[in-house]
Subunit: 264 residues, 2 copies
Amino acid sequence: MHATVREKLILKLIGDKGFVAFEEFEREIRASPATIRRDLEKLAIAGKIKRIRGGAKEIASSSAEMSNGVNFNAHLTGTPFYENIEKNRSQKEAIGKAAASLCSKGEGVMIDGGSTTLQMCPHLAGLELQVLTNSLHIVSALIGQQGTRVLVPSGAVFPEQNIILSVFGDPGMPRFHAPKLFMGAASIGEKGLMQADIVLVAAERRLLAQSEEVIILVDATKFGGPSGNVVCELDEIDTIITDSRITDKTAKMFENAGIKLIIV
Amino acid sequence: MHATVREKLILKLIGDKGFVAFEEFEREIRASPATIRRDLEKLAIAGKIKRIRGGAKEIASSSAEMSNGVNFNAHLTGTPFYENIEKNRSQKEAIGKAAASLCSKGEGVMIDGGSTTLQMCPHLAGLELQVLTNSLHIVSALIGQQGTRVLVPSGAVFPEQNIILSVFGDPGMPRFHAPKLFMGAASIGEKGLMQADIVLVAAERRLLAQSEEVIILVDATKFGGPSGNVVCELDEIDTIITDSRITDKTAKMFENAGIKLIIV
DNA sequence: CAAGTTTCAACCATTTTCGCTCATTATTAC
DNA sequence: GTAATAATGAGCGAAAATGGTTGAAACTTG
């Protein structure tokens, strides 16, 4: 059996079942264990699959166990990302549109990555913004827009999250300072804004340091969610845009913290 | 059996199954293995098929192979860039492979954007390189590779060329310094290396300033091409990788300029 | 936490495949 | 008909892929 055939078969098996045990590969593929292992390693290095002890699984399911954070990685492989996009889609669209309407023509803004902030992008066309973002998803969403200037910081690309993050400790984009920062979140509550992934935390803190007005985009399912890593306290947040499913109690809590609430 | 008949048969077999093992060619074609190999090589050079060890497969899945990252190219479909990828494709693949073999494990390198340098990327998997690039095409080709670290400079995204270029005049990535720079070209001749687009010139001069060894990847159709903007003189170039269609006269000219020539 | 089991990666031997050279055969030109 | 050129076939050394073995690492169980 030839290498290309084995490769296709492996990808097919994993595509079907999500996870495939090594034993199953041995059964399905007419080749020695050593060869199968080599194939798996090659595919893992190429980023097509993820090897785990006892077999191999698709890339996507690795981020599914990253619990409920904004799933950037899924954008790479397809289905789970679209699930995430579809989740609360109409709310996210409305939130994104409202966020876009806060931008003035020609302004410079920063946009953090996430499935909610991503929904801003279609509405930014024609505003002639200068957008600084560290998210490659945002870059790809904005790159075709005429008149929108996209800026990125220097740094290393983190493929799991698809963001650019300077590893030197410096901001990576020293000369840019924006009045507004649009940011998503895994969850938000009394203790502040939280992300599940610490890489995202590091990235977002960089952006926070360079911004004046912080605007958070979250659908109402994110309130009081599971614990995570605190990105910032509530008093660093200026505005929250969310949907109407927010409870009065939660709304009151944010208003007491001095946060402006926009409900769409 | 006549050459033209064999050729048609080969293309038919590959068209049907996608991948055909060499053994199968031997069975279907009444000719010696040596002849079949020669036919395959001819077709591969012509860009009709793709040879791989153990047989040959169809050329398809050009971007599918490397598009497991974010799609920065949606706005570029139908542009000259895609035509360029197909032009002299097999030569570019061979050149890219040779260029990749110059990299040592764990090394830090810079890769300029272009349809030829893009062909390096699949061969870089597993080398655990630190790659600095200003080309989003290169980023998306490398982003899925486990172990390959991708670095980008800060700056504005130029959508026409899909590159990141600092508009402040600074290098955008001050702390990175790489031993090797891999670069393409629109044409190259006695006056030096040339690009048609002045944005590319600006971007490449930044990279040149941070590199020690400059390696140029050009297929042989680029020699003595049309006039353009000079990126650098010949004496700044250390190595040129090209295909065997280079003329003796041109080869002599480069060697006289002290350039090491690698012909694939 | 210790013993036992499973899984894995690294190593080496074997097989397969490839590119090169050279001899042979077919084709063309004169 | 003969010479010259191109195409084909065969053999050989090098490179790549594969298979098997072994010792280490990770996980499990008592």
